[in-house]
């Protein structure tokens, strides 16, 4: 017995093996995402080989290649990369905050809020910059309202869930109404945006999200990951261990709402990335807790992969990326509901 004892202790208590696996999964997903990006940049009316793409990105391309890669195609894949990462990170934070594997921002009203803001702009005939602004504003306002309504001497996971679902139902009604207000052209544009699409994204669409990720990702990944993992074990226990639970929730919720609404501003409310990425990351790392880093990379790989599929699935006809994530995510969801039910977690 005593001969066996030291081994598991060293393996687990150090956490080195598990942490190494989480880093490896993150790195693997990031690599996969980059491969998808290179493939996506190489595809289109002017096909390029992966080596040409890499050469051009590193600065060795012809002027024509330079233009195609840097001005036309790269903004799109960078948007995919960032939107995927941001949505996944926000999803992991939400799921951990509400302690429910289904607690993603798409289901809790935040994405619907962004959609309402954007639809209002579309119906009143605003341009694409105003649309992005409307999405951010809608998302943030919804976030603040939901937070205020769910607050009652502290923020608690399941009240956040229920308030969020109520908000989703109201906003779905409002969004449906806004859709009926516009002309068919506007409705079609709104519908495309609502599904989530990466067509024709330029650098100006990427920059706000890039800036937000540069600030918020370190805050969340480095500053909040450990206390968040502790908080999953219960509020009292976390407080007993010295976590300032409510302050942590406020910071994380604000970060997640900002990331979600900026991602929606860049690509529309792409569904199910925020829901599925944390699950996939958890399965791959096998580690308990929020797994934020691995999840972020998984999200980036998911969305770049989905965009590649959306571009290539039907020759000559591009699907909006949201259709691909919706179909894949819906299937995954049914499986998840079945599996979670078996485990008694739904």
């Amino acid at each position: 017995m005593s001969g066996v004892r030291p081994m598991p202790v060293r393996r687990i208590a150090g956490g080195v093996t598990l942490r190494f696996r989480a880093v490896a999964v993150g790195a693997g997903c990031l690599l996969l995402a980059l491969i998808f990006c290179v493939l996506a940049v190489g595809g289109g009316d002017y096909p390029m080989s992966p080596s040409d793409v890499v050469r051009t990105i590193l600065g060795g391309g012809s002027p024509a290649e330079d233009f195609i890669v840097h001005e036309l195609r790269l903004p799109r894949v960078v948007t995919a990369l960032l939107v995927g990462a941001a949505l996944a990170l926000a999803g992991a934070v939400f799921q951990s905050l509400v302690r429910n594997p289904l607690g993603s921002p798409d289901l809790l009203g935040f994405t619907q809020g962004s959609a309402a803001g954007a639809l209002l702009v579309v119906v009143t005939g605003g341009g694409s910059a105003a649309l992005a602004g409307g999405a951010v504003l809608g998302g943030v306002v919804t976030g603040v309202v939901i937070y205020a309504l769910a607050w009652r001497g502290g923020l608690h996971g399941h009240r956040l869930v229920l308030v969020g679902i109520g908000a989703t139902a109201i906003l779905t009604g409002v969004n449906g109404y806004l859709l009926t207000r516009g002309r068919l052209m506007e409705a079609a544009r709104a519908m495309l945006w609502l599904t989530g699409s990466l067509d024709g994204r330029g650098w100006e669409d990427v920059l706000p999200l890039l800036a937000a990720m540069a600030v918020l990702a370190p805050v969340v990944l480095l500053g909040c990951a450990r206390p968040l993992a502790i908080t999953e074990m219960g509020d009292d226990l976390a407080r007993g261990l010295g976590v300032r639970v409510q302050g942590l929730r406020l910071v994380l919720l604000a970060a997640a709402v900002l990331l979600t609404s900026l991602a929606a501003a860049a690509a529309g409310p792409v569904s199910f990335v925020a829901l599925t990425a944390p699950h996939l990351a958890r399965r791959m790392t096998g580690a308990p807790g929020p797994n934020l880093l691995a999840t972020t990379c998984t999200g980036a790989a998911l969305l770049t992969g989905a965009d590649l599929v959306a571009q290539r699935l039907f020759a000559g006809h591009q699907l909006p990326v949201g259709v691909v994530t919706g179909v894949l995510g819906g299937g995954y969801l049914v499986w998840l509901l079945a599996a979670q039910r078996k485990a008694g977690r739904i």
Partner: protein, 289 residues
């Protein structure tokens, strides 16, 4: 038994060479405790004698767990103060409190797929920093905690797979890994069978005796409380009805007053501590007549 301490002046009796000579390390005075608007206790005074194994007893919904939460800083009192080492506990930094006082709540959730050693390792949280995440020190303390609670053999197992008694010992190990001189346990024996209850309580007693920790536990079983506690606090309706050594506190009158249960108190044939025997129904009926 050194615990012949009067309630108000407790803490000095057994000559603790603590940092504070003017009172126990943990106490609460004039506490009003409430959830939302519902007041659970008002004007509550309580002191936890240093190095004692204090057990809080009382009927359901008398405010035992609420008091424990207030003492552990997880519930902010609506009025009054909880003093830890002479300072208002709500004014102290969370991390500093967490290094002095550990709490094992009733409602803790083991994350899915976590192993025993990882869960115990989470207890090291207040000792870690962003840039100093896992040290040899942490490693050693986690191992010692698991050995002290007899779960070292289970280190690599998933917490989900354990029996109730094992799981409770793992949670206690986590609280131990926090390395706090004070440890608060909320009903540590709930849902355990009698053998596992005794196992957990023996463990608590050992932690108290060997390491000189101050333990505070909420317990339901009066006989367990009388046998293991060095200091008893009896509560009813948000008030402390009596406090002191079990031999003095646990009387038939007190049990009747606190639980509305007629009973006899005899000597435990095993330990000589008070043993509460509820009155038989017929005797109760004739007694009330």
């Amino acid at each position: 038994m050194t615990e012949t301490i009067a309630y108000e002046t407790s803490g000095q009796g057994n000559g603790v060479a603590g940092m504070h000579d003017d009172g126990p390390r943990l106490s609460g005075s004039a506490l009003t405790l409430s959830y939302d608007k519902r007041v659970v206790a008002e004007g509550l005074d309580v002191a936890i004698p240093d190095k004692s194994f204090t057990v809080i007893i009382g009927p359901n919904a008398c405010g035992k767990s609420t008091l424990l939460r207030a003492l552990a800083r997880t519930l902010r009192p609506a009025a009054g103060t909880v003093l830890l080492d002479g300072r208002d506990i709500t004014s102290l930094p969370a991390r500093q409190v967490a290094r002095t006082l550990g709490l094992l709540p009733q409602t803790s959730v083991a994350p899915d797929g976590i192993t025993v050693a990882e869960l115990v390792g989470r207890g090291r949280y207040p000792h870690q920093r962003l840039l100093r995440q896992w040290s040899a020190d942490d490693e050693r303390v986690v191992r010692e905690s698991m050995e002290a609670t007899g779960v070292a053999d289970l280190a690599g197992r998933l917490v989900d797979e354990l029996s109730g008694g094992q799981r409770q010992r793992v949670w206690i190990a986590m609280a131990l890994a926090q390395e706090t001189p004070l440890l608060l346990l909320d009903e540590p024996t709930t849902y355990l069978d009698i053998a596992h209850q005794i196992e957990v309580l023996d463990l608590c007693a050992r932690l108290h005796e060997e390491a000189g920790r101050t333990l505070v536990a909420v317990l339901h079983d009066l006989n367990h409380a009388a046998r293991y506690a060095t200091h008893l606090i009896a509560m009813r309706d948000g008030r402390v009805v009596a406090a002191g050594a079990p031999g003095e506190v646990m009387t038939a009158d007190l049990v009747e007053e606190v639980f509305r249960l007629p009973c006899r108190v005899i000597d435990d044939p095993e330990t000589g501590t008070p043993l509460v025997v509820p009155a038989a129904r017929r005797r109760t009926e004739t007694a009330t007549r």
